[in-house]
């Protein structure tokens, strides 16, 4: 008798999708080492020219900008999401819990365009923040917030918050409260309990949230494109511009290969840096 019924039926469709995905990724690899023929969608012979071109200041700067942007976004998101996740898990009021949950999770399902658009109205020269600050007399003339890196980070933090809150809340909800009670009974104050017990024990969630925030920001496109308005150039906006304005698909492909490698390397590095902490926290 067959001890593994349906195995072939269940695995082969997934195998087919995997083959398609691999083929698409190989297509990117293949294009990244092809020469670009200006004005044509055809590609030329094999070359490493695309990768060499990335050392030019314009492109190197875009990479540096992107990494910086991702890092800033992940840090600010963590700082804002932690208290929210903590309140979500620890509050005794179920109404407040539902409220925090729906408010912090809804943006996750809104998509990048809607969320970015709302930030355009907040940050614009005649937008919400400038009007408010002008009317309060804190500013004499509108402050430029659109088309700046700061504006892009603010919007990206907002875009990344929900996933960070979810990951932190998952980690916080799995902490055994008895550790905290033990520390309290031994005379530790609330701040000390938090810093020496809760925070270290939530480290796996912090690492997972931070690397996810980093990866999401790295692949964000609508936000840097619309809020940055071409004045904040990131890997994603550069790839789109190369692909659809100059039809230089080979160079776009090599940029996405390096971008992918870079984001994987940073995530691996974060995991590695955090693993002693996780061992300390006694979780795997």
């Amino acid at each position: 008798m067959n001890t593994r019924p349906f195995l072939g039926w269940f695995v082969s469709p997934a195998g087919l999708v995997a083959v398609g995905l691999i083929a698409a990724m190989l297509a990117v690899f293949q294009y990244s080492v092809r020469a670009y023929i200006p004005g044509s969608l055809e590609v030329g012979g094999f070359t490493l020219q695309n990768f060499a071109a990335m050392l030019r200041p314009l492109y190197a700067l875009a990479f540096w900008n992107t990494v910086l942007l991702c890092f800033e976004t992940a840090v600010f998101t963590l700082i804002l999401a932690y208290p929210l996740a903590y309140a979500l898990v620890r509050t005794n009021s179920s109404a407040l819990r539902s409220f925090i949950l729906v408010v912090s999770v809804t943006p996750l399902f809104l998509g990048e365009v809607v969320r970015t658009y709302s930030w355009m109205i907040v940050l614009g020269n005649k937008g919400f923040l400038n009007t408010l600050l002008l009317q309060l007399g804190l500013l004499d003339r509108p402050m430029q917030m659109m088309f700046t890196a700061g504006g892009v980070v603010a919007a990206l933090v907002h875009v990344t918050m929900p996933i960070m809150v979810i990951m932190l809340a998952a980690a916080l909800s799995h902490i055994d409260r008895n550790y905290e009670k033990a520390a309290e009974s031994l005379g530790a104050g609330p701040v000390r309990v938090f810093l020496t017990i809760t925070l270290p024990l939530s480290m796996p969630g912090i690492v997972a949230g931070f690397s996810t925030a980093f990866a999401w920001t790295f692949s964000a496109f609508a936000t840097p494109q619309l809020i940055g308005g071409g004045r904040v150039s990131t890997v994603s906006t550069l790839i789109y511009q190369l692909g659809f304005s100059s039809f230089n698909f080979p160079f776009a492909a090599s940029l996405s290969i390096i971008g992918l490698a870079l984001s994987l390397a940073v995530i691996a590095l974060l995991k590695k840096a955090a693993s002693p902490l996780e061992r300390m926290a006694g979780t795997t």
Partner: protein, 271 residues
């Protein structure tokens, strides 16, 4: 329980902090909602006079209507294909050991970390190399790839919580594996399958970056149509559309929360 002034101060500063963060999360939504009722054609805040005409325009603008139906087509196909393919595969990896199991799982989960523009670019190049047109199948394929990890995870978690003794009981009573699958396993998995499908559908309907690469004028989805609109016009039509979006999504989530327990799906319930 005695409370020192320090603890009380901590408690209140905590509350203020939470309120401030919630305000940050809610602010763009509130600003958009107010702007949507602005009568003027430029983005001015606060609005000088009020009107509903941008809602009317959002409904009557042909690209949005077309984008909505295109998006719905893509979403229904992509999330349904992903549901069948992903949950069958999750069943296989949960129950069996087979060759290339881990490799295949790794490949199919990788879209969680591969930037969507890389996926979009890859599918686009692949299509041009194999002379496949930029029609719906291409967009649907890209979406299946991107939502598959979510369906796989949702089904896998449900399988973990499934009592295998129910299947053994059916088997000992003489049911064939096919009959067990359709009368025991799948009915028990329904909540997990449904939430996986819903999650996939919402993500697919909102996917933008990869879709921008693989769609054409004829297959553009709503987010792509919205993006093109922002680049061309600066009037509050998109604010009106965003309000509709936010209200529908928040309503769906509130319903999902009260019926299914969002906390359970997202794994954030306190013990």
């Amino acid at each position: 329980m005695k409370r020192s002034p320090g603890t009380l101060l901590l408690r209140w500063s905590g509350r203020i902090l939470i309120a401030a963060i919630l305000l940050f999360v809610l602010l763009p939504g509130i600003v958009v909602a107010v702007s949507a009722f602005n009568d003027r054609a430029i983005l001015l805040f606060p609005p000088q006079s009020w009107s509903l005409r941008w809602f009317w325009r959002a409904f009557s603008y042909p690209d949005f209507a077309k984008g909505f139906w295109n998006g719905l087509t893509v979403t229904v196909w992509a999330s349904s294909i992903a549901l069948v393919v992903g949950s069958a595969f999750a069943f296989a990896i949960h129950r069996y050991k087979f060759r290339l199991r881990n490799l295949l799982e790794g490949i199919l989960l990788s879209p969680l970390i591969i930037p969507h523009y890389t996926i979009g670019l890859g599918v686009l190049i692949l299509a041009s190399q194999t002379n496949v047109g930029r029609g719906f199948p291409l967009v649907i394929f890209a979406h299946v790839v991107m939502v598959l990890p979510f369906v796989m995870r949702s089904t896998y978690i449900s399988l973990e919580n499934l009592d295998i003794r129910l299947e053994l009981a059916a088997s000992s009573l003489g049911a064939t594996p096919l009959r067990i699958l359709f009368t025991v396993t799948i009915p028990l998995l329904i909540p997990g399958l449904l939430s996986g499908w819903l999650f996939a559908a919402i993500l697919s309907f909102n996917e933008f970056t990869a879709t921008l690469f693989v769609s054409s004028q004829a297959t553009q989805t709503l987010p792509v149509a919205m993006y093109n609109y922002v680049r061309e016009f600066a009037d509050p039509t998109l604010a009106a559309l965003s309000v509709i979006y936010i209200v529908v999504t928040a309503t769906l989530l509130t319903i999902a929360n009260s019926f299914l327990g969002l906390g359970k799906i997202l794994n954030v319930d306190a013990h």
